[in-house]
C-alpha cells in the first residue's frame, strides 16, 4: 500500500516545478488516509537520503522538491551552457537579510536600519521575486510593506523562516570573528 503511495508522491514531486507541500499532497491524494500520506512522504525522504542518486529530495519553502546532487553541478552547468548563476550583490543581500529579520517592513525602515538608502537594492529584490509587497502601512504616506517570498526560502534552501540563521549561530560567528581579529 505504502509502496503505491510512495510512487505516486514521487511522481507528483517530479512533475511539480515548485516545492509541493504536505497539505497539497493530502488534498490531491484525498482517497488515501492522511496519516498514510505522511508515512509515505517520510519513507520517501528516508530512501532518498540513503541512496546515492543524482537526484536529491529537498525540503524547501515548506514543501518537497527534487534537486540535483551538488557534486554534479559542473556537468549540469555544461549542459545548460551556464557559466554560473548570478549571486546577489552585498547590498542586495544586506537589504534582504534586514527584510527577513524585520518583516513586515517599509522602505524607510529598511534604509534607516542600513544607514544607507535601499531603493535600488529593493528594486533588484522585487525583480528577482525574493521580496513581495504585502500591503500598505497605516501611517502617513501609506508606505508599501515588504516581506520575503517563498522564492526567498527556496533560494537559500530554507524550509521556513525559522531556518534563518539563529541568534546562537550569529553569536558564534561574531565570537569567531572577534577571536580572529
Amino acid at each position: 500500500m505504502t509502496a503505491v503511495l510512495k510512487s505516486i508522491i514521487e511522481s507528483l514531486i517530479f512533475v511539480s516545478q515548485e516545492p509541493i507541500g504536505l497539505e497539497k499532497l493530502k488534498a490531491i491524494l484525498d482517497d488515501f488516509p492522511p496519516a498514510d500520506v505522511e508515512d509515505a512522504v517520510q519513507e520517501l525522504e528516508e530512501s532518498y537520503s540513503k541512496n546515492q542518486s543524482g537526484i536529491q529530495l529537498q525540503r524547501s519553502a515548506g514543501g518537497l522538491l527534487f534537486v540535483t546532487e551538488p557534486a554534479c553541478d559542473p556537468w549540469v552547468k555544461k549542459m545548460l551552457h551556464m557559466d554560473k548563476k548570478g549571486r546577489l550583490s552585498s547590498a542586495a543581500l544586506e537589504t534582504l537579510s534586514i527584510i527577513a529579520y524585520h518583516q513586515p517592513v517599509t522602505l524607510a525602515e529598511i534604509s534607516a536600519l542600513r544607514g544607507v538608502d535601499a531603493t535600488h537594492s529593493l528594486k533588484t529584490l522585487l525583480l528577482k521575486r525574493l521580496v513581495k509587497i504585502t500591503g500598505r502601512k497605516r501611517s502617513p504616506g501609506k508606505p508599501l510593506i515588504y516581506r520575503t517570498s517563498n522564492k526567498f526560502l527556496s533560494y537559500f534552501g530554507l524550509n521556513s523562516l525559522k531556518d534563518l540563521p539563529t541568534r546562537e549561530e550569529i553569536e558564534t560567528l561574531l565570537e569567531e570573528e572577534r577571536e580572529a581579529g
Binding site: F14, Q58, L113, R114, G115, L126, F156, P165, I170
Partner: protein
C-alpha cells in the same frame, strides 16, 4: 596626500556609515558597549576627509552619522538638571543600531554560504516553464499602474480631434462580453496593445471603464511578470476553468 588612491578603493568596501563605524571600532579594538565618542568621531571624520571624490548621495548618509556622533558627544558633555539614571546613556541608540547591524552582517555571511551551497543544486523549475499558467508568479497590478499606462496611451492619441463625436453607442454589457470572449479564445491580452487597437478615443475610454469593472468584479485580473514589464490581462483561473 600621496596615499589618496588606496583610500578610495578601501572606502568602497564599506556599504554604509555603519560599516565604517564597525570597522573603526574593530581597528581600534574598542568596546562596542563603551565607545569613546571623541576618539571615534575624530577617526570617523578623518576617514571622510580622506575621501576625495564626493558622491553626494552617499556622502549625505555618511555625514548624517557624523552629525549623530557629534550630537551624542555634546549630550554627554552638557550638564543636566535632572539626575541621570544609568540606563539613559546617550550612546545607547547608536550602540543598539551598531549591534543590530553587526548581527545583520553576520546573518548575511551565513546566508551567503547557504546561497553558495544552493548554487550547486539545480531544480527542474530552473528551466523556463512551458506555459506561464501560474497566476501567483505574476505581480498583481494596482489601479494606479493601470491608470498611469492608460494615461500615457491617451497622451499619444491626444492629436485626435475629440470635438467630433461619432455618436456611436457602446453597451457596457456587450463590451465586457467582448473582452471576456477574447480572453477565452486568446488566453490573455496585452494592455497597451489593446488600447492602441481601439478605433476612437471614446471607445478606448469606454473599454478602460469596462476593464476596471471586470477587475472589480474579479472576473479578470491585471498582472505583470515583473515590475516595469508589460501589463497583461488574464481571466481569473476559476472562471476560466468553469
Amino acid at each position: 596626500m600621496d596615499g589618496s588612491q588606496p583610500y578610495q578603493v578601501k572606502l568602497d568596501v564599506f556599504q554604509g556609515p555603519l560599516d565604517l563605524l564597525l570597522f573603526l571600532i574593530r581597528k581600534k579594538k574598542l568596546d562596542i558597549h563603551d565607545i569613546p565618542m571623541a576618539l571615534i568621531t575624530r577617526e570617523y571624520l578623518e576617514y571622510l576627509e580622506r575621501k576625495e571624490q564626493i558622491n553626494l548621495e552617499r556622502e549625505a548618509e555618511f555625514l548624517l552619522i557624523a552629525a549623530l556622533l557629534i550630537h551624542i558627544k555634546s549630550q554627554m558633555l552638557l550638564p543636566r538638571e535632572t539626575v541621570v539614571d544609568e540606563d539613559t546613556d546617550p550612546r545607547q541608540t547608536l550602540v543598539d543600531r551598531l549591534l543590530d547591524h553587526q548581527k545583520i552582517k553576520a546573518a548575511c555571511a551565513i546566508l551567503r554560504t547557504k546561497e553558495n551551497d544552493q548554487m550547486l543544486t539545480w531544480q527542474r523549475g530552473f528551466l523556463p516553464p512551458l506555459e506561464p499558467l501560474d497566476e501567483l508568479e505574476f505581480i498583481e497590478v494596482s489601479l494606479f499602474d493601470l491608470a498611469e499606462v492608460f494615461y500615457s496611451i491617451m497622451q499619444k492619441r491626444k492629436q485626435e480631434d475629440v470635438k467630433i463625436i461619432p455618436g456611436k453607442d457602446f453597451s457596457v454589457k456587450a463590451k465586457m462580453d467582448e473582452i471576456v470572449q477574447y480572453l477565452k479564445v486568446h488566453g490573455h491580452l496585452d494592455y497597451m496593445d489593446y488600447f492602441d487597437r481601439q478605433s476612437s478615443l471614446e471607445e478606448a475610454l469606454f473599454s478602460f471603464l469596462c476593464l476596471l469593472e471586470l477587475i472589480k468584479t474579479r472576473i479578470i485580473i491585471a498582472v505583470q511578470e515583473s515590475l516595469f514589464s508589460p501589463i497583461q490581462i488574464w481571466l481569473r483561473q476559476k472562471e476560466s476553468s468553469s
